[in-house]
């Protein structure tokens, strides 16, 4: 069931209890986790935090902890599947689910006792009404009895029997009709996968209701929202609306330090609304490298072509930025140039067809040298979360990413930024090589691309978030470079080797690229059906159903099944 009063129905319930926190491995979940941890520290709620990477981890964690905990809080996992069926808990376990995955499974919506959803009911859900999917089957029992009774033949009885039989047939027909409608409704409801309001934002609202919100929590909520935008999980409209909500909170916090007499020290944290450039990590890199490695600029200029490189040089010349300045680290650029850089870039971008080079976002500033944009933090933390350096396990990386969000761990954050730079450069190079060697093939209903094992940096792309980012950039680049109008509207399926020893690949599917895309992804169900029909050995472990693991040998038959299914 949906929770209406988050304070009474969630927070007050867990305050005097011990809670198990099961957190998924994405940035929004990590931010939500940090906010909740601070709230729990304030009120001394004892908890245990377990990072979970997929459904198997979730089940294992539940089994290990179900004896000791009654209350489980799930962050960014658990809403889109029948949780009670999967975990088979005892009757007194209660699950609080704060998840952005949609659609929410109907059993989770209509269970009143054990599943509590920390999701806003107006969040564009479209849940079918109760009567359309659940039905009390009492009539079956009656029709059964009647058939038993009508065994002795007599005139009156026979007429009664006939009437009974007719009614039974009518009831069965109505039931079949209802079941048919139910299947249709559920199919429509569960067909497309998409994302709702950020979990970090939901928990920030909880903190606000409790008046325990701090600037740190606000910053984490902003990062959670920005993660949804960077990884293309929400529509632009929703992003803008949510930014406006966050902006109200930011102004509220900023009003506290506008007093001239009590101005804040430079070490305190300041969050500001920025209408900043869409150049990834530009303040921590050189401007030139950032332009080359940001998806938006790279795709518009087509920087993998010689022509594109020339255009870039023209663009820089047009703005009057000397190459020497632009290739320097951003911090060391001339102050005069940095001053009105954003406006200069915006003006020139308009001339080159890039109308949205600026985007609404937030920045933080504490100490003399620490300035970060929300997207910088997202990229840094994502790189840490999916780091392939050393042999760290997934939970090691999760904890490192969790640490990097605290302001005291700046060296970890800078490490994350370096890893993010490497990741972005790897993505750009892979995109360039895929486009130049025509690795993207149209299979009819979708585009397909397979990264071979020897590809440089292919280890980076064995991780889901990195692969999805590559996928999205690749699709954008493809749409900009191809002349085939039909291909521009196709979705993309991408496969990359995941574990060479075990012989498995990771397969992801993303919806087609368009300005008004609603980001709804049908590949989850499609992959399931294709795997079933060919009995391919797949693992649907990830919380996003459009990401699966597949045995390399089954790749071609799986693909064929997918093509047939979607044509």
């Amino acid at each position: 069931m949906f929770i209406t009063d988050i304070r009474k129905e969630f927070y007050d319930v867990v305050t005097n209890q011990r809670v198990a926190l099961l957190v998924a491995a994405d940035i929004d979940a990590v931010c939500a986790c940090k906010i909740l941890q601070v709230l729990f520290h304030c009120d001394q709620v004892q908890y245990t935090l377990v990072p979970v990477a997929g459904w198997q981890d979730l089940s294992t964690a539940f089994l290990e902890h179900k004896e000791q905990f009654q209350y489980f809080v799930l962050l960014n996992c658990g809403a889109n599947v029948d949780l009670l069926e999967m975990l088979q808990p005892d009757d007194d376990s209660v699950f609080f689910i704060c998840d952005t995955h949609r659609p929410v499974d109907v059993v989770n919506v209509y269970n009143d006792s054990q599943i509590k959803l920390l999701i806003k009911q107006d969040d564009d859900l479209g849940v079918p009404s109760y009567d359309e999917i659940f039905r009390d089957d009492e009539e079956d029992g009656d029709s059964g009895n009647e058939s038993d009774e009508g065994s002795e033949p007599s005139g009156k009885r026979r007429r009664f029997e006939e009437g009974a039989v007719e009614r039974r047939i009518e009831r069965q027909r109505a039931k079949r009709e209802w079941e048919g409608r139910r299947r249709e409704i559920l199919f429509d409801y569960e067909q497309y996968e998409y994302h709702g309001t950020s979990a970090a934002m939901m928990l920030f609202e909880l903190a606000w209701v409790l008046t325990k919100d701090t600037k740190d929590m606000l910053w984490w909520a902003v990062i959670g929202l920005t993660d949804q935008w960077v990884h293309d999980k929400i529509t632009h409209m929703k992003y803008v609306t949510d930014v406006a909500t966050m902006q109200r909170h930011v102004s509220r916090h900023n009003h506290r330090n506008e007093d001239e007499e009590n101005s804040l020290s430079i070490d305190c944290m300041r969050i500001s609304f920025e209408y900043d450039l869409r150049l990834t990590l530009y303040q921590h890199w050189s401007l030139y490298e950032s332009i080359c490695n940001s998806c938006y600029t790279s795709c518009h200029f087509k920087l993998w072509t010689l022509n594109g490189q020339k255009k870039l040089q023209e663009f820089l010349a047009d703005m009057g930025l000397p190459l020497k300045q632009v290739r320097q680290k951003f911090h060391s650029m001339d102050m005069a140039i940095k001053g009105n850089l954003r406006d200069v870039i915006e003006e020139s971008s308009n001339k080159y067809g890039m109308k949205d080079i600026r985007v609404q976002t937030f920045g933080v500033h504490f100490g003399f040298k620490n300035r970060f944009l929300a997207s910088d933090m997202v990229h840094a933390t994502a790189a840490l979360l999916e780091s392939t350096e050393k042999d760290d396990s997934a939970s090691d990386n999760f904890l490192k990413a969790l640490d990097s969000l605290s302001r005291g761990n700046l060296d970890r954050l800078h490490l994350g930024i370096d890893l993010a730079k490497k990741k972005l450069m790897a993505i750009q190079q892979t995109v360039a090589s895929c486009i130049c060697t025509n690795l993207i093939v149209s299979q009819g209903p979708f585009l397909y691309c397979y990264l071979m094992e020897g590809t440089p940096d292919v280890k980076l792309f064995s991780k889901p978030m990195a692969l999805i980012l590559l996928c999205k950039y690749l699709l954008k680049a493809f749409v900009h470079s191809t002349r085939n109008k039909r291909c521009k509207l196709l979705p993309l399926v991408m496969a990359a080797p995941k574990d060479v020893e075990k012989g498995s690949v990771i397969v992801v599917g993303i919806p087609p690229e368009s300005e008004t895309s609603d980001k709804k992804n049908f590949f989850g169900r499609a992959f399931e059906k294709a795997a079933e029909s060919t009995s391919s050995r797949t693992l649907h472990d990830h919380f996003d159903t459009s990401i699966i693991e597949l045995k390399t040998e089954d790749r071609s038959k799986f693909l064929d099944a997918l093509i047939t299914l979607l044509s």
Partner: protein, 155 residues
Amino acid sequence: DPLTLHSSAKAEGRSDLIASIKLRHCCLLRNQRCVTAYLYDRLLRIRALRWEYGSVLPANVRFHMCAEEVQWFSQYKKSLASFMRSLGGGEGLDITQDMKPPKSLYIEVRCLKDHGEFEIDDGTVILLKKNSQHFLPRWKCEQLIRQGVLEHVMS
């Protein structure tokens, strides 16, 4: 005994041996000093073990101690215990707790290795698995932090 050796050497007219007797004696004295210093250092470390591990030493530590050292340890334990009992107006005070001034009642700890189940005061059991984080009462965690099973996370 070097003195008797010395005098007997003089008596027998072997005064050329006196220097080597003296040298040998000095060497023996030096070795004795070294061994004593080593044994004393061991005692100091064993004393520190009481503060680190508590009153029951793990088996692998006891394995490396000789019987006399074990006896010394239990006597040290006894005198420390009687001292602690005498504090606080006869009620006793455990001074091996809170070695650093505590900042809060509960702390956040991260589990560094699999330790299995751990029971806290109200009877509830916590599973300490590698890379899980817990928010627990401070006094329960101190022992495990010192042993290196848990790590205090400060944010």
